[in-house]
């Protein structure tokens, strides 16, 4: 069964204008999981503002609760209200017990500084009246609005943008319930490559008239079988060759690498042919590690193989 799988990545858009050195720096940092983000210079100040207004809103909520409460009980409270001093004292001592009491004194949580107005603002630079405008070095509105917090005016200040993928981010196969697509933030990570890499398989029908299946050479196949271990996905990412523990006939096995084995075949071309083509059947056992064990897990498969060995030299 072949399946169409699609894989979602974050696409990264690089803007072409960054100075080369910087660009490389970014690329390198990306390989280790994303580039360093630009910071908003006002971040701290804005956080303090947010904190402040949160406490103000909290206070307002408390006041409302209290108002509702006092409204209901006004008959009882009116007595103490007449004698303002004790009621004040009483209230003060009670506040810590109230579940709605703000944490800490409200006036203390307002450690926000109001902005200072200035009499002067930055005027125009003098060179604006004399210097030529190089249009290619000035960003257009689209480029400015693409990074709202910075809105760079010069193309040299442009920074890479994150681009979100706009499709559904997870998808499972209906039959085997495996993840076909799953969000992963960094497509260059090893985890992504091993677990989440999907392969796109295309089924092509070759019309019979295009296939020439008559072999033009004889081939001597090795006797017996060549053993290859179960496929190991991580092997491709191991740099060093694992030392083979197989006792191979050096005349048959040429090399072993990761999940592959190379074998030597002796080809004898037939008389009067210019190209040598050999045909044989490849038989191997396929073990299904995915499906549930209801059926037989191991199947022996026979694959007819045609190999164009090349032109025959005199």
């Amino acid at each position: 069964m072949f399946m169409w799988c699609s894989k979602t990545y974050h696409r990264y858009l690089f803007l072409p204008s960054l100075p080369e050195a910087e660009m490389w720096e970014l690329c390198i940092s990306r390989a280790t999981g994303g580039w360093s983000e630009q910071d908003n210079e006002h971040y701290k100040y804005l956080q303090s503002l947010l904190e402040h207004y949160r406490s103000v809103a909290q206070q307002e909520k408390l006041d409302r609760e209290r108002k509702r409460f006092s409204h209901r009980k006004s008959a009882y409270l009116s007595l103490t209200d007449k004698y303002s001093l004790p009621s004040l004292l009483g209230r003060k001592s009670l506040t810590p017990l109230s579940p709605y009491a703000p944490k800490g004194d409200s006036s203390q949580s307002l450690d926000m500084t109001a902005s200072e107005a200035t009499a002067e603002v930055e005027g125009l630079p003098d060179e604006i009246f004399t210097e030529e405008v190089v249009l290619s070095s000035v960003t257009d509105m689209e480029q400015r609005m693409a990074s709202p917090e910075w809105q760079p005016e010069k193309t040299s200040d442009l920074y890479p943008l994150h681009k979100h993928i706009l499709v559904k981010r997870s998808l499972r196969c209906r039959h085997c319930e495996h993840n076909l697509s799953k969000p992963e933030y960094n497509p260059s990570s090893i985890k992504f490559k091993i677990q989440l890499g999907a392969f796109m398989v295309r089924v092509v029908d070759i019309p019979p008239e295009k296939t020439d299946l008559t072999p033009s050479a004889d081939v001597a196949l090795p006797q017996g079988q060549v053993i290859l271990a179960a496929r190991d996905d991580t092997a491709e990412y191991d740099d060093q060759d694992s030392i083979s523990s197989y006792k191979d006939d050096p005349l048959v096995v040429a090399w072993r690498r990761a999940n592959k084995v190379g074998i030597n075949l002796l080809v004898t071309p037939k008389a009067n042919v210019s190209r040598a083509k050999v045909g044989f059947v490849l038989r191997y056992d396929y073990t299904n590690t995915v499906a549930t064990a209801s059926e037989s897990r191991t199947v022996t498969l026979n694959i007819p193989v045609m190999v164009d060995v090349g032109t025959v030299s005199e």
């Binding site: 947010l50 809103a57 909520k61 926000m112 902005s115 009499a119 009246f129 000035v138």
Partner: protein
């Protein structure tokens, strides 16, 4: 089909349903999440018209029904293309101009369940202030609303259609009048001989990339030169070769580059301009608030980020206050401006985001079911919501 949360839902206050903040502008719309330091997206307020299939501005519709269609499409685009979050059960704060049309307001309320906050007021929140004269230089118009101790002084509002749009039409006029183009054949022609009108997109691009607001001194000399040719005009800034569609090159004269924004400062038949709006607004304010307001000017809106704009407005205001009729009424000699911790065009949005990150959203927003029962949105100009509640007074 289940909708999966984008990155927007990760790692902030109440992860699930973080409030969305939208500032609808006549040219650009800013949208993002509460508690963040900047909007996620600033996008053109444009949608594909359902009937004609053309891209049209959202708020230019012939009737309420069409406006609603535009908004539905536009908000859908904002959620599913830009913000990538599920709109269900999500609070929305809409930053709106107090002087905005009610039809727009009602149309937005039909689409979203939300909280409206006045843009001028929340802009002050980004500064931690509660008093200030907020001048919003937008695309369609410039509006001035003074705010004293967190209360907008509505009787002193000012609004004039002086904004990005006015600059665009002035730019178009000047270019058609003066600019030359060189076509493929190398022949020089007047621009007016080639095109009748420049598109808004081109005009905006020219404005943002090459134009600036000249200083008061130079502007004065340019004006004098207009009436009296004997007065030497200042040497114009260098012209710019601007590529138009095809291989046509447009030469933008330096004088045009510095003169396009003069339209905001030239006083019209009623002697009104942007600086005079500020002073008129001050004159309408109670006398004891004027000084505090004048020392706390806040200039916001996309047009304010044009190079030299703030400097020019400040110097114009200072010059104007010494001349009648203002000098008779206003005894103010100190004007100061604030520098909001944001780019000019999203200051109001940022105020909304700060407010949206607090409990106030829960307390004050208009729930959907209540809106369906009443079918109205509370508004300052609607007396049903704006009369003193006696019962409230007593219980307090």
């Amino acid at each position: 089909m289940p909708l999966y949360e984008g990155l927007g839902g990760i790692g902030l206050i109440n992860e699930k349903n973080i409030t969305v903040i939208i500032d609808f502008g006549s040219s650009y719309t800013k949208a993002g999440f509460a508690g963040e330091t900047g909007p996620r997206v600033i996008t053109k307020s444009e949608v594909k018209c359902r009937e004609t299939g053309k891209i049209v501005p959202v708020f230019e519709a012939k009737d309420d029904e069409e406006l609603r269609h535009h908004l539905v499409d536009f908000i859908h685009k904002l959620y599913f293309r830009n913000l990538l979050v599920n709109p269900k059960d999500r609070r929305v704060v809409v930053v709106e101009n107090l002087l905005g049309p009610s039809s727009v307001r009602n149309a937005i309320a039909k689409v979203l369940s939300l909280l409206f906050v006045p843009s001028h007021l929340v802009s002050l929140m980004t500064l931690g202030m509660n008093t200030g004269l907020v001048v919003d230089l937008g695309y369609n118009e410039t509006t001035v609303v003074p705010i004293y101790e967190s209360v907008p002084i509505l009787s002193a509002w000012q609004a004039l259609p002086l904004g990005g749009k006015a600059i665009h039409s002035s730019l178009c006029e000047l270019l058609l009048d003066r600019a030359l183009t060189v076509g493929e054949d190398g022949k020089e022609q007047r621009l007016s001989a080639v095109v009748e009108q420049l598109s808004d997109k081109v005009l905006e691009d020219i404005k943002a990339r090459t134009c600036f607001v000249t200083s008061l001194d130079r502007s004065g000399r340019l004006q004098n030169n207009k009436y009296d040719r004997a007065v030497e005009p200042p040497p114009p800034p260098p012209s710019v070769q601007y590529p138009m569609s095809g291989s046509r090159i447009l030469t933008l004269p330096g004088s045009v580059r510095e003169m396009v924004t003069e339209i905001l400062f030239e006083r019209d038949e009623d002697m009104l301009s942007v600086p005079s709006m500020i002073l008129n607004s001050l004159m309408k304010c109670p006398i004891d608030t004027r000084r505090a307001l004048a020392e706390n000017l806040v200039l916001i809106g996309g047009t304010a980020s044009l190079k030299g704009m703030k400097h020019r407005i400040l110097s114009e205001v200072r010059a104007l206050v010494t001349s009648p009729p203002f000098s008779d009424v206003l005894q103010i000699n100190s004007f100061k401006v604030h520098h909001p911790p944001a780019k000019d065009n999203y200051v109001a949005w940022l105020g909304g985001a700060i407010l949206g990150g607090t409990e106030a959203v829960v307390l004050r927003s208009l729930p959907r079911d209540q809106y369906i029962i009443n079918d109205t949105v509370p508004d300052w100009c609607n007396l049903a919501f704006n009369t003193k509640d006696e019962h409230d007074e007593k219980s307090a």
